[in-house]
Amino acid sequence: MTAVLTRIFGVHNLALVEDVVQDAFLRALEVWKFRGIPENPSAWLMAAAKNRAVDLLRRERTARTYAPELGRLLESEWTLVPTVQELFSPHSIKDDELRMMFSCCHARLAEEAQIVLILHILCGFSVDEIAGAFVSSHAAIEKRLTRAKKVLAGSKRLFEIANSDDFAARLPTVQRALYLLFNEGYHGASAESSVRAELCQEAIRLTTILMTHPLGATPATHALAALMHLHAARLPGRLDASGNLSSLFEQDRSKWDAKLAEEGQRLLNLSATGTELSEYHIEAGIAAVHDSAKSAQDTNWAAIVSMYDMLMKIRPSPVVALNRAVAVGELEGPKRGLEELHAIADAERLADYPFYPAALGEMELRSGQREVARGHFRAALALARNPMEREFFERRLEACQVGKAGKARAR
């Protein structure tokens, strides 16, 4: 809704737009209080916002300047209502969301600010919900949002998606932001699984919109969408029956979503054109190997290690190196895994990441070094970011005592 209204009122009137949205929402709630929630609340809200927009445009027609490219159409009573009608039609809304997506990925904004902005404006998350998702405070997120909105409003015009050069230039940033948005949902620190599932769903929704645009449907976008679907397919297995975090090695694979995995595979095939091999291609490839394996033992670890090798070449990072080391451990045994773990460059950047000591612990445990493993798991426990992770590491600590080595491994 914000995306459409911003197209009407102009990006420099973002605050006004947010008022209109909020107003439409509050008025709707006031009526629903008495009459109950209608069958299609979002259509109802859209209609309320549309009326409010027309009202405001009539009243303030002379007082402000709105979207420069629409200015004249909005000035005349003859064209005002039809123009607004047209802008609220479904295909137009999609374009507006796309415009907004690209506008949010402003070069002057840090990646995290872009994501916060997308979540707020395009996904309708409240400040508190975003703070919950990022395990951050209300004040910190609000500050980041205010700053980001100022940059956005300062850009005067929404990003023009018809210009193919600009589009292509900003596309990687948009893809990256969507990737991080998905990751925040998939691997993020928030304990609320519902919040995380919602982040993943929104990332998939926005990526799908990107895919429907001729300029946006590049191999990398398809690979990105494939990666999201292939990962999301495994989401239902991440929690066991009692709601505890379950590692890839102990998950009940029958709970994985076969339809999502199939769609992911289809998208991955679609992405296999052209010469570009993006990190999304490789990550989707890795996810596809996991999805098609019947068990952890059954997994083609050699393929996974070689794909991590490629990933290290185009986008090296300590987290990628960590995952690669775990895969090496699976392929060539815990001793080799440990060597790789200790050889990670920039390991100090993993200092706050609980799954680094946890991986060390697993490898030590499987080499029979129970005491050393305990130390690592204790370190992981101290770094745990939510009760679910804490519970998970406590179970690993217990495993060191009873010596159930090798049954369940972290990651």
Binding site: Q22, F25, L26, L29, E30, V31, W32, K33, F34, R35, G36, I37, S126, D128
Partner: protein, 113 residues
């Protein structure tokens, strides 16, 4: 059974969307409860907080005192109750009291036939 009108006066409208959403749910639950016990004649409607006041022999039209008045009527419901005491009891469940509002309970006048 007699009819009563609940006039909802004052009460802050939600400060944030989250609060407003909670309020809506509470109102919905309350009205639903009354309805299930057969007390609702008409759920009623919310009213805009601004309007016009037409007054006097001259029929002068003003914007009315609505905007400033803290006890402006924000909505109404037509209920059915045994007597005024029961109607008052029913009104006590209204979520408006959480936000500094009031419920005016007024019997609908009837001719004793």
């Amino acid at each position: 059974m007699s009819e009563f009108v609940f006039l909802y006066r004052g009460g802050e409208r939600g400060r944030s969307p989250e609060q407003a959403q909670q309020m809506m749910q509470k109102w919905g639950a309350w009205l639903k409860g009354l309805g299930e016990k057969g007390h609702i004649r008409d759920q009623g409607q919310p009213l805009e907080r601004a309007g016009k006041l037409v007054k006097g022999k001259q029929k002068t039209v003003t914007d009315g005192p609505f905007a400033e008045a803290k006890d402006v009527v924000g909505g109404y419901t037509l209920v059915e109750a045994r007597d005024i005491d029961q109607a008052v009891e029913l009104s006590k469940g209204c979520p408006i009291f959480e936000v500094d509002g009031a419920v005016e309970v007024r019997p609908v006048m009837k001719l004793g036939v």
